[in-house]
């Protein structure tokens, strides 16, 4: 594009002026930045030593801010619901041409590996980088690979609904069981030994919740991808 012709000079100069002003202001403010400041997460880092798992980010997402995560997967559910309501799906085949033979074979070969990697990221989310959000999206990527390579592939609607319902209901049920047994919503009621932090079965309820979040995110993202893929070309 021709920048000089498409954009008026006044717009460009206004942008440049405001950018320079904001940058100058921030540079001046950064001169007085305190170096040894109190951080937000210090208290939670100390608390993580008493009750938590090896990955502190997982503890914050699932345990200290677990109620917040419940709200966030509700937002994700509403976005998925909106995509499904907006788009008009077409149950017939969408792709005009059959995809390549090599692509089909390779995607059939790769899909179990992608699924396995997603489940690994999900299950080991409390020990290593990863967790439910990442694992769910990896599984949705595998479903996307099958959707673009196979002409008639489709995840059945009832399967997505079943996974999502079970995951959402069990999240709330685990929260209420914590409320019943320990007087805190999402309390860690399963016995967990802090001495062997770093083992697979050491986190109590935290890995369980992250696996549930992973199932929910995976089914919602698969639903979004499939609905976008199945939008009919006519109309």
């Amino acid at each position: 594009m021709n920048i000089k012709r498409d954009i008026p000079t006044a717009t460009l100069s206004g942008f440049a002026l405001s950018a320079v002003l904001v940058l100058t202001l921030i540079t001046i403010l950064l001169q007085y930045l305190p170096l040894s400041q109190q951080r937000v997460g210090d208290a939670l880092l100390v608390l993580n030593e008493k009750e938590g798992v090896a990955n502190v980010v997982t503890t914050v997402v699932v345990y200290f801010r677990g109620f917040d995560t419940l709200g966030e997967i509700a937002v994700l559910f509403i976005a998925s619901l909106g995509v499904g309501l907006m788009l008009q799906p077409n149950t017939e085949c969408r792709l005009k041409a059959e995809s390549n033979f090599m692509l089909q074979t390779a995607s059939t070969l790769l899909f179990p590996l992608i699924l396995l990697f997603g489940i690994y990221v999900m299950v080991y989310g409390h020990l290593s980088p990863g967790g439910g959000f990442q694992g769910g999206v990896i599984i949705a990527s595998g479903v996307l690979l099958l959707l673009i390579s196979h002409k008639n592939f489709e995840v059945p609607h009832t399967v997505i609904v079943a996974f999502e319902t079970v995951a959402g209901v069990s999240y709330v049920l685990i929260g209420f069981m914590g409320l019943l047994l320990l007087d805190t919503f999402l309390g860690n009621f399963i016995p967990h030994d802090i001495a062997n932090m770093g083992m697979l079965l050491s986190g109590g309820v935290i890995p369980l919740i992250y696996i549930i979040v992973g199932i929910k995110v995976g089914s919602e993202m698969s639903g979004i991808v499939q609905n976008l893929m199945q939008r009919s070309d006519d109309v």
Binding site: D6, I7, T11, F15, A19, V22, L23, I26, T27, L30, L33, L35, R39, V40, G41, D42, L44, L45, V46, N48, E49, A54, N55, V56, V57, T59, V60, V61, R65, T69, E72, V75, L76, A79, S80, G82, V83, M86, L87, Q88, S128, P129, G131, F133, V137, M197, G198, V217, E220, M221, I224, N227, L228, R231, V235
Partner: protein
């Protein structure tokens, strides 16, 4: 040779100025481009600027990633986990909401045949 760039003040300045420039690039696209997909791309760029600002300002070069293992057992030498936990969920939510916006745009295009945002004037008096 570039050792002066490793000081904490300089890194914080780089992060802030870089995130602000990225945000302004996104804002420029949002205000001047006409196609609806370009508007969504600009919004994605602005989102990533905010993510970089959050993570970058909580970053300390001497500290390690907030994961306890056999060699790292002291929580006092770890980075702040709160911004990372917030941004982790915000990325996934942002992409899902972007998919919702794209589906709105597709249905609008199928109904009216318009993609330029200054011709979308059905609700205007």
């Amino acid at each position: 040779m570039f050792e002066f760039l490793n000081q904490p003040e300089v890194i914080k300045t780089i992060v802030t100025l870089g995130a602000m420039s990225l945000f302004f690039v996104g804002l420029f696209g949002l205000l001047t481009r006409k196609h609806i997909v370009k508007v969504f791309i600009s919004i994605a760029i602005m989102e990533s600027a905010i993510f970089l600002l959050f993570i970058g300002l909580s970053f300390n070069r001497e500290k390690v990633a907030p994961i306890i293992d056999a060699t790292q057992t002291q929580v006092a030498t770890m980075n702040d986990p709160i911004p990372q936990a917030m941004i982790l969920t915000a990325i996934v939510i942002g992409m899902a909401v972007l998919a919702l916006g794209v589906s709105f745009a597709i249905e609008y295009y199928k109904l009216t045949g318009k993609t330029e945002i200054d011709t979308m004037n059905e609700m205007r008096f």
